[in-house]
């Protein structure tokens, strides 16, 4: 069995003639945690959708476990069943993902599509709700949840099927620091070396916690690949790809100066 789970070769994609991806080549290994870094509009979300078989490459190919993702392939019931069972996508906007009447129904949706038994579904939902500390929300409708709760439920709705691959689109966006920290703890403990995680983000402060390898996107192309440390230390690359901004700080001495923002807020720096 090849170690490569996703093989992406020369993939291009455009929206109504506007290029979003311009020739991506990338392999994602089994059990690997990959962060897709890039500024807004760099193609990260589109790439995730292609990996999840929701959109399809206009040229080039994406192979999942040796089989090319095409509309025809995803129309095949047995492949679609296997693929949806193994790959889960958490959307950036939880309002898109939470379309059921209650949190419980939301968590039951994926397992029902896969065809699990009622008892199996209930057992699995109970376990996931407990692990994400959302059991108290089971009967609540999604519109009565806070943004942090919605994000947790959105993640739970995918984790409930116990996927082999987790694709996450900006999982910490629009969250308060505490909710961000909870999500990062959840993601950093999720893979355990056996499952694959691909996370699209532009938050440099979380990549070392959630990724073993970073892929930097720039205008729909791969600008760099490296370890989180290599990437966050490459100031020129980060400036060029819009991932770095000058950050004004007032020190205790009263001195105010600007410098690139590479670290987490609260870290000691000079």
């Amino acid at each position: 069995m090849s170690d490569s789970l996703f093989d992406v070769r020369g993939v291009t994609f455009s929206y109504d003639g506007v290029p979003a991806l311009g020739g991506i080549d990338l392999s994602i290994l089994r059990g690997e945690r990959v962060a897709l870094l890039g500024a807004n509009g760099s193609g990260k979300s589109t790439f995730l959708r292609l990996l999840d078989g929701l959109d399809f490459a206009q040229s080039g190919t994406i192979d999942f476990d040796g089989r090319t993702l095409t509309p025809g392939q995803l129309d095949d019931s047995s492949f679609a069943h296997d693929f949806r069972r193994r790959v889960g996508l958490v959307f950036q906007n939880p309002d898109v993902q939470l379309f059921n009447a209650t949190v419980f129904d939301e968590l039951a949706f994926g397992p029902l599509q896969i065809g699990w038994s009622s008892d199996e579904i209930r057992t699995r939902i109970d376990a996931v709700m407990e692990s994400l500390d959302i059991a108290r929300l089971a009967a609540r409708p999604p519109h009565r949840l806070s943004m942090g709760e919605k994000k947790r439920v959105a993640i739970a709705s995918v984790l409930v099927i116990h996927p082999e691959v987790l694709l996450l689109d900006e999982p910490t966006a629009a969250l308060d620091p505490r909710s961000q920290s909870e999500i990062i703890n959840l993601l950093s403990g999720w893979s355990g070396g056996t499952r694959t995680a691909v996370t699209a983000t532009h938050d440099l402060s979380i990549v070392e916690d959630i990724a073993d390898r970073c892929v930097v996107f720039e205008s729909g192309r791969v600008a760099a690949v490296g370890t989180p440390r290599e990437i966050v230390q490459n100031e020129e690359l980060l400036h060029r790809t819009g991932l770095l901004h000058a950050h004004r700080h007032r020190h205790e001495s009263g001195v105010v100066h600007s410098h690139p923002h590479l670290h987490r807020h609260g870290d000691h720096h000079h």
Binding site: F99, N100, Q113, H143
Partner: protein, 274 residues
Amino acid sequence: MTAAVIHRGFVEKTLTSLLHALERASSSERLAEQRGLLQHVDARVKLLGCLALIVAAAVSRHLDTLTLLFAAIAILALVSRVPLHLLTRAWAIIFVFTAAIALPALFTTPGQSIATVAGIPVTLQGLRSAAFLVDRVESATTLGLVLISTTPWPQIIAALRSLRVPAAVVLIIGMTYRYIFVLLRSAEEMFIARRSRSIGRLEGAVRRRMATATAGVLLGKALALSDEVYLAMQARGFRGEVRTLEELRMRGRDWTAGALFTAAAIVAFWQGLR
């Protein structure tokens, strides 16, 4: 210092009112979680019971039966802790609208004249027809209010599923309720954003043009959202077939409530059609 006056157009006011109405629907969800007579009865029993009583009210040929039925429904609402102010407001609004529709019947229905208004005779038969209409609508609406005030929306959805209403229909109803909050909130934010960048009062034509443009943008957002939601469903294995998890179970008190609803409906039918 001059007082700031905020002018809001008709469309904006309507959308804001709708949003507030939906937020009140959220508060009725909280009401449904309280301890009242009907709150702990199975949603299917309430749904079918209310439906049977609505039909009984609709077919009743006797005003006294209808009035007794309305009184019984009002008592049921009160012991189920539906707030009196909510009931009286609903009754008043319904009375105004239904009376407006029933008004011509007072003068146009042939029969025994009992009074004269502006030289036009009001007939006893016309008054009875108007009373029938108002009574039926008040009874039916109160039952609907009792149902939604004592049953969380997800349970109504589950009851519809359980009663074999087509799964696709139930899914559409559930998603409509889910996303109408999102879209109305979005519309309200668009109006607020526009107001924050407007100076002075805009002319009516300009306001109407902007409202039309906003409606167009909102439609575009709704379409984009529907595409996204469909993708999210596909991503979790949805392939066009709606599958659901049966979760409602009838308990002793549900059977008792079902029997009482059935008895009430039989008496209402019997008395109404005698």
